[in-house]
Symmetry: C2
């Protein structure tokens, strides 16, 4: 019998809920002893750390009478609780909270492993990245974050395998945002001509729930920049922060300062059509060369350059042929030669993001046992 492993989970949004339902069906799942959302925390009572919390959803879990209930706990309090459990413990962070991410070293130093789709810890200041991995080594704890890039697609694990086995990664390139993939696949599709205006496509994506509540959080390229920061660092580049390289924002300058309130967002959407001409010109410029425009990120490892922005691609290229809101990531390496190793598929969505988290959790459990 392997020793029991204890699990704390923070976040019950889209990814968090999908994760809980996957966790409930995992064979040999660890014992869920902490489940938190923004202002509420459920805990298995100390000192026995039993009963475990049913891994279904927040409602079912919070109806369990024998659990301790509390308001929000600080990261220090959560770390103290998990590290006193009678076995190894794992924290799954299903939030996008930068404050929690900046506390990962506290957890790791105490031997609590981290599994998360939260990009913040790995894509903020380089000092935090270094502190996280130093703390993991110090606490003999593990850090898995597959879903920080491309959701459940095998991106981080593939890159880590390439690096660990001594391959030389020369270039990473791809479409890293499901939202921007959808916008450009719809605005400038390869097969059929599209007369859709840029603002109409953005409005459609917003209605379908493909964008953040404020679409500018997609259009500013920061989400892509954070993903590129993570990949560049794994490939060995010391990227200081996600704004230490060129990012081409798709937000018209004139609309950048409109506040991100409900009224501000409405104003942004109302005024966006004024700028359709700019995007149409870019699209038609590409068409004249027989190409299509796409929003991509790239890491040139040799030249130590990271770039996020618009680029033109041949119509028969893999990037141009992307469908729906799919991501595509190409790894060019010394061993793979001229043709890259390519991973492609849905790079956003609760279920596939949670799948990356669940798969990481399984690997961490296997290593801790």
């Amino acid at each position: 019998m392997p020793a029991p492993i204890y699990l704390g989970v923070i976040g019950v949004g889209g990814v968090g809920n999908s994760f809980l339902s996957q966790l409930a069906r995992l064979p040999n799942a660890p014992q869920l002893i902490l489940l938190a959302r923004s202002t509420q925390t459920l805990l298995s009572p100390t000192p026995s750390y039993t009963p475990a919390i049913p891994a279904a959803d927040w409602k079912t879990a919070s109806a369990e009478a024998q659990l301790t209930k509390s308001g929000a706990l600080t990261p220090d309090e959560i770390a103290a609780y998990l590290s006193s459990a009678p076995g190894r413990s794992i924290l799954v962070d299903n939030t996008s909270d930068p404050a929690l991410a900046s506390s990962y070293p506290t957890f790791l130093r105490r031997g609590i492993s981290i599994v998360t789709p939260n990009k913040k810890g790995f894509s903020s200041d380089l000092s935090l990245w270094k502190e996280i991995f130093a703390a993991a080594a110090e606490g003999n704890a593990l850090v898995y974050h597959e879903s920080t890039v491309g959701a459940g697609l095998p991106v981080i694990s593939t890159l880590r395998d390439l690096v660990a086995t001594g391959d030389e990664v020369t270039r990473i390139e791809g479409v890293f945002s499901g939202t921007l993939s959808f916008l450009f696949n719809t605005f400038a599709p390869v097969g059929a001509a599209s007369s859709a205006k840029w603002s109409e496509v953005v409005a459609q994506a917003k209605e379908l729930g493909y964008t953040e509540p404020d679409p500018r959080d997609d259009l500013n390229g920061m989400d892509v920049a954070r993903k590129l920061t993570i990949l560049a660092r794994i490939a060995g580049l010391e990227v200081q922060s996600p704004d230490s390289f060129p990012i081409e924002s798709l937000i018209p300058k004139e609309l950048a300062d409109v506040p991100s309130t409900a009224e501000g967002i409405a104003e942004f959407m109302r005024r966006l059509p004024e700028f359709d001409g700019q995007m149409t010109a870019i699209k038609e410029g590409a068409e004249k060369e027989g190409k299509v425009v796409r929003f991509v990120g790239s890491v040139d490892v040799g030249a130590k350059k990271v770039r996020v922005g618009l680029e033109k691609f041949d119509k028969d290229s893999a990037i141009a042929g992307l469908k729906g809101s799919d991501n595509i990531i190409s790894f060019y390496t010394k061993r793979y030669g001229a043709n890259p190793l390519i991973v492609q598929g849905a790079g956003a969505g609760g279920d596939v993001t949670a799948m990356g988290v669940s798969a990481d959790l399984i690997k961490v459990i296997q290593r801790l046992q």
Copy 2:
């Protein structure tokens, strides 16, 4: 300090040599205590199991004076030697030997983990597959075989993650042979018209070393059938053997019984042009529909059907657009919906196959420590 881990390696061919050079540069590599090729074995002397064998190449290793030298050992003898080492041990099988593969249960029951690109253990009779995984559970040992499908591409690991996290894999489809990929990408390319005859393309591939010494070992589809057998089994189908489903052989019936000697192979190559008309007809039939022909394998999980053979694809499909000798593998699942998760890139070659082996070895070490 983690406990030392001991390593035996069998096979010093193309993959074996690439693996040894990758092993030599791995940080925290396990101690190599057995290195074998067909008729010779090098061993660290018992009972100390020191010194370790230098992980460079056969010549360097066999020049090391302090090692024990022997002829070929039986699998039982190797298992006895490795299981008596003062720590956990791992066997890396870099051969394609079916006899060694059928002995995996012997190793696993004794607690020796297996890492291998050898397809034979996982694609022969279903009883061996079951015995391997039962023996691994019994011996608390691990089995990793990423490079049995698509070489170093993340195929097996991705499929296992999908299954382990509860996704429902509905269909797997792709080009699984680097050789057949090259043959059809050259014979029926998408962009430019090609007037090359089938027999010329086969001869060219043979000269480039892309085919087995006897090209019929590629053209019979058995290598693809073995890979499909492995994937189908991981997806949950009880495939009895790699010949228990339809395999379309590209060997003309009239040439199937020509012996596989040097003279026989020469005769096969000399007579292959007689059958060019058949392949041209197939190619032109596809072209009339605006398609190209490719040699693919597929697993339909719901219908429990595995199929290997020629199929026609739209010219703008990912399979049609494949380049060089690349593989492409598409996983259709419930979570990923209409657009599959796709992995693409070189699926053959010593370095990339060895990379899959090295990456597996790292994972096994991480789990044993």
